[in-house]
C-alpha cells in the first residue's frame, strides 16, 4: 500500500507541521482524517446549502435566508440543533452496533477515494472495485439497523435498502467495466491518464456506448446508495424515512451526513471514471511539476475534481427536485429491466469499439 506513489502524504504532513520519520501508517491515518476534515465535511456543508437553495429556486420558494448572509450559516445551525437534541430512551445496543457498522463501512471508502494524481492512497488493479464492497457492507449495516429497530418503517426501510442495493450493484459493476475496457486498467491513475482536460478527451464522450455506460453508472449509483430521486428505500412519503425514521439528534446527523458522503463519493468516482478525473491541461501539469510546485498542482487538481463533482451532484439534485418521487418497486423494476440490459449493451458495444480501435 505504501509505495513511492504515496510520497504526497509525507510532503503534505510535513507542510502541515508533522514531524518526519513517523511510521507510514500514522501518515495514512493523518491523511484519512485530513481528507475527511478538509474535503468531505466542508463539501457536505456547501452542498447541503446549495441543494436547499437550488431546490427553493426550482420550486419558486425562498429557501434558507435567516442564518448569516443569504442563509449561508444554515448547515452549521442545523448541525448544532441536531447535536442539542436528546436521544430516544428505548434505544437498543443493537441499533448502536449496526449504526457503527454502517458508518465504518461508509467511511472505509475514504481510503480509496481518488482526489488527485498525488492524492491516491490505494492505487491497485482492484481500487475501483473497493467502494462496491463498502457499499454492500453499508447496505447490510443499514438493513440490520432497520431490522433491529422496533418499528414497521425500520423493517420495511431495511429490506427496501437491501433490495435496492442488490438491484443497483449489477448494472453499476457492468458499466464500470466499460471504463476499464477503454483505459486498459482499473488503477485510478491509469483511468485518469486515459482521459484529458477538455471534454472530448473524457471517457463519457469517447463513444456512444460510454455515454450509455455513464448514464447507467450514475443512475445505478443512486439506486445502490438510495439517493434521491431513486430513494424508495428511505422514502419519506410512505415509510416516514425508513431506517432513518427512528434516528434522532446526533445519530440522525451521523446517518444523514453518511448519506451525503455516499452521494459525494459516488460522484467523485463517476467524475474520475467518466468525466476526465482531475486532469488539468497538459502544459499546466508539466510546468508545475518542472517547477517543483507539487502541492500547488495537487490543490489545483483537487479543486478541478471537486468542481466537476459538485456540478454532477447539482445536476442530479435538479432532476430529483423537479420529478415525482419513485416507488421502491418501480426503482428495482427499472434497475433490473432497464439499467441492467443497457449496461450489458454498453459493455458489449464498448468492447467492440475498443477491439476495432486496436485493430
Amino acid at each position: 500500500m505504501m509505495t513511492s506513489e504515496n510520497s504526497w502524504i509525507v510532503a503534505w504532513s510535513n507542510a502541515l507541521g508533522f514531524p518526519e520519520g513517523l511510521p507510514q501508517w500514522l501518515y495514512a491515518v493523518g491523511a484519512l482524517i485530513s481528507v475527511f476534515v478538509f474535503v468531505v465535511v466542508p463539501s457536505g456543508g456547501l452542498m447541503s446549502y446549495l441543494e436547499r437553495k437550488l431546490a427553493a429556486d426550482l420550486q419558486a420558494r425562498v429557501g434558507p435566508n435567516r442564518t448569516g448572509p443569504a442563509g449561508l450559516l444554515q448547515p452549521i445551525a442545523d448541525l448544532f440543533k441536531l447535536l442539542q437534541k436528546e436521544s430516544r430512551v428505548d434505544w437498543s445496543w443493537k441499533e448502536n452496533l449496526w449504526l457503527s457498522v454502517h458508518t465504518m463501512a461508509l467511511y472505509s471508502t475514504l481510503a480509496v477515494l481518488p482526489l488527485g494524481s498525488m492524492a491516491v492512497l490505494v492505487n491497485t488493479e482492484m481500487s475501483v472495485f473497493l467502494p462496491f464492497w463498502s457499499a454492500l457492507v453499508l447496505a447490510l449495516g443499514t438493513m440490520l439497523l432497520g431490522l433491529s429497530q422496533n418499528s414497521v418503517p425500520g423493517w420495511f426501510g431495511g429490506i427496501r435498502v437491501a433490495a435496492q442495493t442488490l438491484a443497483g450493484s449489477f448494472p453499476a459493476l457492468i458499466s464500470l467495466l466499460c471504463t476499464g475496457v477503454r483505459s486498459g486498467s482499473f488503477r485510478w491513475s491509469a483511468l485518469a491518464e486515459s482521459q484529458g482536460f477538455s471534454p472530448w478527451e473524457w471517457t463519457v464522450f469517447a463513444n456512444p456506448f460510454q455515454m450509455v455506460a455513464f448514464s447507467v453508472f450514475v443512475m445505478s449509483g443512486l439506486v445502490l446508495l438510495a439517493i434521491p430521486p431513486l430513494d424508495g428505500g428511505l422514502s419519506m412519503s410512505d415509510i416516514h424515512g425508513g431506517v432513518s425514521s427512528h434516528l434522532y439528534g446526533r445519530r440522525l446527523s451521523l446517518f444523514q451526513f453518511g448519506r451525503f458522503y455516499g452521494f459525494f463519493f459516488w460522484s467523485v468516482i463517476t467524475v474520475v471514471l467518466f468525466l476526465g478525473a482531475w486532469d488539468l491541461p497538459a502544459q499546466v501539469t508539466v510546468s508545475l511539476k518542472a517547477g517543483g510546485a507539487n502541492q500547488v498542482l495537487a490543490l489545483l487538481e483537487l479543486i478541478w475534481l471537486l468542481l466537476k463533482t459538485f456540478g454532477l451532484m447539482l445536476l442530479i439534485v435538479w432532476v430529483a427536485k423537479v420529478n415525482s418521487r419513485s416507488r421502491v418497486d418501480q426503482i428495482t423494476d427499472f434497475t433490473w429491466k432497464v439499467l441492467s440490459p443497457f449496461s450489458l449493451f454498453a459493455l458489449v458495444g464498448a468492447s467492440l469499439w475498443a477491439g476495432w480501435r486496436a485493430i
Binding site: L58, A60, R61, V62, N65, W318, V319, V322, F342
Partner: protein, 177 residues
C-alpha cells in the same frame, strides 16, 4: 396477434426513451425558475417576516379578514355579534348611559385565542362598527394578552357626576344614541 420479438424490443426501447423524455421535460419546465427568466423569476412564497416582496398588510385583498376592530363610538351594544359568534369569543356588557336612551358599552372583549376569523360577527353588526382590519400580526407571549378590549369600562360615580355636570351645561357626551 402474436407479438414478434422485434416489435416487443421496439416497444421496450420506445418506452425507455419516453420515460427519459418525460424526465427531461420536467427538468426543462423548472429551468426558467432557476435562471430567473421572464415572469417566473418571482418567488410564489412570500418571505415572512423578511420583506422579500416588499408587501405590507395594506397590500392584502380588500375583503381579507385580519384582526377585528370595534369602533366603540358607533357600537350600540346590541350583542348581535356575540350571538352570531360560533366560537363565543366576543363578550359584550352594556348598561344605560347618561340618559336611558343611550347605551354605555362597558365591556367589549374579543378573545383572539378563540376567534376563527369567520366574519359572521362583522356581517351581523348593524351599525357597522365591528370590522376586520388587514392587520394579522397578533402574536403574544401569554394567552390572556390575546384578548382585545374595546369597551368603555364600568360606569363609576365619577362618570355619573360628569354626566350630571354636562346635562346642566347642555353639552353632548359623545355616546351614540
Amino acid at each position: 396477434m402474436k407479438e414478434s420479438v422485434f416489435s416487443a424490443l421496439a416497444l421496450y426501447v420506445q418506452s425507455v426513451f419516453r420515460g427519459a423524455w418525460s424526465i427531461a421535460g420536467s427538468c426543462k419546465t423548472a429551468l426558467p425558475y432557476l435562471i430567473r427568466w421572464g415572469d417566473l423569476k418571482k418567488e410564489v412564497t412570500e418571505g415572512y417576516p423578511d420583506p422579500i416582496s416588499s408587501k405590507t398588510a395594506d397590500d392584502l385583498p380588500t375583503r381579507s379578514r385580519g384582526l377585528l376592530f370595534n369602533d366603540i363610538d358607533r357600537c350600540t351594544g346590541c350583542r348581535d355579534c356575540e350571538v352570531a359568534c360560533p366560537s363565543r369569543c366576543i363578550r359584550v356588557e352594556s348598561e344605560p348611559g347618561s340618559d336611558p336612551a343611550k347605551i354605555w358599552v362597558s365591556t367589549f372583549d374579543i378573545d383572539f385565542s378563540r376567534c376563527i376569523f369567520c366574519g359572521l360577527c362583522v356581517e351581523a353588526c348593524h351599525p357597522g362598527s365591528l370590522v376586520h382590519t388587514k392587520q394579522y400580526e397578533g402574536a403574544a407571549y401569554a394567552v390572556p394578552d390575546l384578548v382585545a378590549s374595546f369597551g368603555r369600562g364600568q360606569i363609576t360615580d365619577e362618570h355619573r357626576n360628569k354626566w350630571a355636570m354636562m346635562r346642566k351645561l347642555g353639552e353632548s357626551d359623545g355616546v351614540a344614541p
